[in-house]
Symmetry: C2
Subunit: 138 residues, 2 copies
């Protein structure tokens, strides 16, 4: 069962089973294990059972957010790695900033695409409703 949350910002005690995460995020356990296979998750083990920490859960949420945005798992890996603090090398930091810029511009492109699509949908809907009225009256 999900433990009571102690609500510390860096919660170290709360644990999750694979099926809990599976239900919470509506994703198969197969997928979750797959993310581990390719190194996107690294839950600890109790015996051979996987134990997911709060941090693991966050990573999973980021992976799924990326999926909703059409990112590949490799793309998500890049982004998720940005959140990791242990990057002391200056060159890596510069590369990171560069990668962030790229992601940002990609996201802005998506924003543009979405606003256009929404406009189109509005028009299409209006046309539909119009057609319904016209058709319904005759």
């Amino acid at each position: 069962m999900a433990k009571a949350v102690k609500n510390s910002s860096t919660d170290i005690t709360t644990e999750y089973s694979i099926s809990q995460l599976s239900k919470e995020f509506d994703v198969t356990t197969r997928s979750i294990r797959h993310y581990e296979d390719i190194g996107l998750l690294s839950p600890t083990r109790r015996g051979q059972t996987r134990i997911y920490s709060q941090a693991d859960r966050t990573r999973l949420r980021l992976i799924l957010r990326g999926k909703r945005l059409g990112l590949s798992l490799e793309d998500s890996r890049e982004i998720i790695d940005m959140y990791e603090p242990g990057k002391t090398n200056i060159d890596q930091l510069k590369k990171l900033i560069d990668a962030i810029q790229q992601q940002r511009s990609k996201l802005n492109q998506q924003l543009d695409d979405i606003s256009k699509l929404l406009k189109d949908l509005n028009r299409a809907e209006a046309d539909c409703i119009d057609a319904l009225k016209t058709n319904g009256k005759q």
Copy 2:
């Protein structure tokens, strides 16, 4: 060569070759043919050479916009079909409106995802720049 555009909103004369579209949208001819294979495009033919109309070009643009948003080609097919006028059946219209609602809520979800990601990126970048300053001074 691309013909001079007569700038009528329903341009019926302008034509495109497959390589023109390929270059304009930076997509392989293989992909364009693939979209035809699965019925997303239906260019006319001159002999056996494909001739793309303005409408075909628009459909291709919509397909690629969908791709940028992470939609499958089947998803795009649904959306693109919304733009088609020939839906006189009332039931279909209602279904269409429903589908539009669904797409809209999905897009709104994406907007939310993007804004969260952008915030995260901003923080990650700030952290990077911070680390650079600190590291650079010692």
